[in-house]
Subunit: 252 residues, 2 copies
Amino acid sequence: MTRKTEREFLAEYDPADYPAIAVTVDVVALTIREGALHVLLVDRAGHPYLGRRALPGGFVQDETLDAAARRELAEETGLRAGERALDRVHLEQLRTYGDPGRDPRMRVVSVAYLAFAPSLPDPRAGGDAAAAHWVPVAAAGALAFDHDTVLADGLERARSKLEYTPLATAFVQDEFTIAELRAVYAAVWGEDLHAGNFHRKVLSVPGFVEGTGRTAERGAERGGPRPKLYRAGDATLLHPALLRPATEERVR
Amino acid sequence: MTRKTEREFLAEYDPADYPAIAVTVDVVALTIREGALHVLLVDRAGHPYLGRRALPGGFVQDETLDAAARRELAEETGLRAGERALDRVHLEQLRTYGDPGRDPRMRVVSVAYLAFAPSLPDPRAGGDAAAAHWVPVAAAGALAFDHDTVLADGLERARSKLEYTPLATAFVQDEFTIAELRAVYAAVWGEDLHAGNFHRKVLSVPGFVEGTGRTAERGAERGGPRPKLYRAGDATLLHPALLRPATEERVR
DNA sequence: CAAATAGTGTCTTTTAGACAGTATATA
DNA sequence: TATATACTGTCTAAAAGACACTATTTG
């Protein structure tokens, strides 16, 4: 049993005694554009995987992991800290990837984050964001490192969270119609939902959405009544949940 | 744009250019003993937090993160790799904690794991396991580092996973009765469940449990028919799920 | 006007949960 | 024998999902 004081112990402690592992954050940033789910990807400008697409990410600095993820997202999208669009992005930790060999340079442990954003502008030219673009998830394959796995995990998390949380509202603007919300579910789940039942269901879940008393400027493109506008309610969990259909196939 | 080859690039790459961060794994290992949920804790033998209880954990070596977690669990419980009891333990990644200052010695990023185990023997004396014990979660407070938070996150994950996965079977032996399974839910959720409804519900979820055709040696302590024995089925998700009662209160 | 959509009504099926009842063990 | 338990039956309420219908807006 040691008899050192804590002060003595800290003075003698040498970080170099432990193996060097780099820690990075990678961000799976999702948004919906023209009805399709998109992910933010960057073109790698250096080795390894030069020219391949990758999730945006970088080394963790003297900051929390959450802050590192938000900073990377800001840098790649060109949004500035404090900007409203960036503040509205929902960020949550996804999981951590650390297999030896996942990066040929050295041992890198990457903490992946998942971001849900309303439709954002194209990343601004100049700076880090030059090589970033929104890519339809259907066309996002063959990524660098183990990012195919990270993206797949992020998509599954997103699909799942739509079931039991109100996070679909993170993909739409402050005020939205029920049809816009339904389009989020359709894009993320990859299947259409019955409009009438969806409508009633959303309104019946306490705290999911709240009415604004206002109505959209105009109806749908090819006709229809002007829909009411809603904003996100105060629920953090949906009860009862909106379960995906066809769960049977995923069960075994 | 670089013109180096990948070989040249790797040769020049210097890990020391990046901030030194230590990577550890911590394990929230849960089991049920005498009807109460227990967590595996160690008494810290050194600074910082000398004498405080902590989650078992340690530095990641040249191994996957999952392997590091299983190794730490084996070391602290005294179970040896390849031992059947250890192989049966369900391990999954919980989340990663990396706030600057969470360890006063240096920047430490900890990947936390969650383990579900059937009732295990007391950690063996000798070696690292000397200071480890199973502690009722109700009595597990004031842990070292941010381990109170890690434990709380692990408990919430465990409660939640019991709802929609068959993981309750990871807490019981290979063959079990419906009442034993119900005791797992009661211990993890902290509330009793209606025996009759639970029984029918478990049997009605496809792939949750399958009958063995066998019957327990004897009935309950104070009387009752000898219950049938079941083993885990092949479902990976419960559909429909077994939802916790009183969800309303957790919703906002 | 034709077509599309918002929003509501209704019916059926599934599921959750309350409660009761019977048979079978135990001390 | 008294009591606890396994397991099943039955009823009600909640919820999911299919389908139909009206009113409203668009080109």
